[in-house]
């Protein structure tokens, strides 16, 4: 991997996608927030309606372009647009929501090409206050979806937590690529799939 890499942050409204990108971006992040008219869904005042964007340069010199997707299912039309060309996805889950495992299914299914290729990581927030479901429950639910990706707790307000998620994601992608190459593939299993345009 070298040059510029595109990564996507996905997850339900209020899961922390905008916060995560703001926590690590080395440029002033671009956001498209609007007044939240649905406080029954989430008590936030504002919500992302198109995308977030930030950048961070790794110690290796690679620049990560970070895109955040709006979380509400009505913005599903934006998801494939933002996922096009992405090398990997961070799926953020808010454990305080009514059905976090259902959220997991929704977003893993929406970005299935990346998840099946092992180019995804799941970060679970608010586990201190809401310990259920456990990380094991997430791993088990992912197994029922035929997806094996790292699941880790995360407080996306903390820069180190977000960097830890990205580091895990990049390690996961590199390991997946190495395995694919060893098995005679191109070393880029994500973009062999037609479901994510290069």
């Amino acid at each position: 991997m070298n040059g510029e890499l595109k990564l996507l942050f996905a997850g339900a409204m209020g899961a922390g996608k905008t916060t995560a990108i703001r926590a690590i971006s080395e440029i002033p992040p671009i956001s498209t927030e609007a007044s939240n008219s649905d406080h029954a869904e989430c008590p936030k005042d504002e919500t992302t309606v198109a995308m977030d964007y930030g950048e961070i340069t790794l110690a290796t010199g690679e620049k990560l372009r970070l895109y955040g997707a709006p979380g509400q299912p009505r913005f599903q039309f934006m998801w494939p647009i933002l996922a096009a060309g992405a090398l990997g996805a961070v799926v953020l889950i808010d454990n305080s929501r009514p059905d976090p495992l259902g959220d997991l299914e929704l977003y893993v299914d929406a970005f299935r090409a990346l998840a099946e290729a092992g180019a995804a990581v799941v970060g679970v927030g608010r586990m201190d206050s809401f310990p259920q479901p456990t990380l094991e429950a997430y791993v088990e639910r992912l197994a029922t979806l035929d997806v094996v990706v790292p699941v880790m707790p995360a407080d996306v307000r903390r820069r180190d937590d977000v960097l830890g998620i990205l580091e895990t994601l990049l390690l996961q992608i590199e390991a997946t690529w190495a395995y694919d190459e060893a098995m005679g593939g191109t070393g880029d299993p994500v973009h062999q799939s037609s479901r994510v345009a290069p």
Partner: protein, 142 residues
């Protein structure tokens, strides 16, 4: 304001404005009023387009257009236009005390762009006045 608790009289007033816009411009085949976060408030659409999906897109595109305007420092975005082979879409924010609504107008290709801009603007201002009047009253608990 949550659209889940938006009073019927407010929605009815918006419906009237959207219907008037749809009726008074030849070539207009759809009008959608949406919250800035993409929820449908009122819509008249003649073709098969799904008004809720369109409402979500109107919210996203207006936000993106305004973000681009800020990024390239060209001042406040007045409207966003989509020109396609078979027609055009104009999108703009509803001017009001609070940035809560956006309006989108779908028109056939041969529609006069100037008239479409003017009439969409008039409808947006009317919706803004309706919203401001409502915001000025004692609001029911959300």
């Amino acid at each position: 304001m949550s659209t889940r608790v938006m009073p019927q009289e407010l929605v009815a007033a918006f419906d009237d404005e959207i219907r008037r816009l749809h009726a008074r411009v030849a070539g207009v085949i759809g009008c959608v009023l949406a919250t800035t976060d993409g929820r449908r408030v009122s819509a008249v659409v003649d073709n098969e387009a799904d008004p809720q999906r369109v409402a979500a897109m109107v919210g996203s595109i207006v936000a993106l257009g305004e973000t681009i305007g800020r990024e390239v420092m060209i001042g406040r975005t007045q409207f966003v236009a989509v020109s396609a082979v078979g027609g055009m879409v104009l999108l703009q924010r509803v001017p009001a005390r609070r940035d809560l609504l956006v309006v989108g107008t779908l028109a056939r290709r041969n529609t006069n762009l100037g008239i479409l801009l003017h009439e969409t603007g008039i409808a947006a201002e009317a919706a803004g006045r309706i919203l401001d009047e409502w915001l000025g009253r004692d609001q029911p608990p959300a």
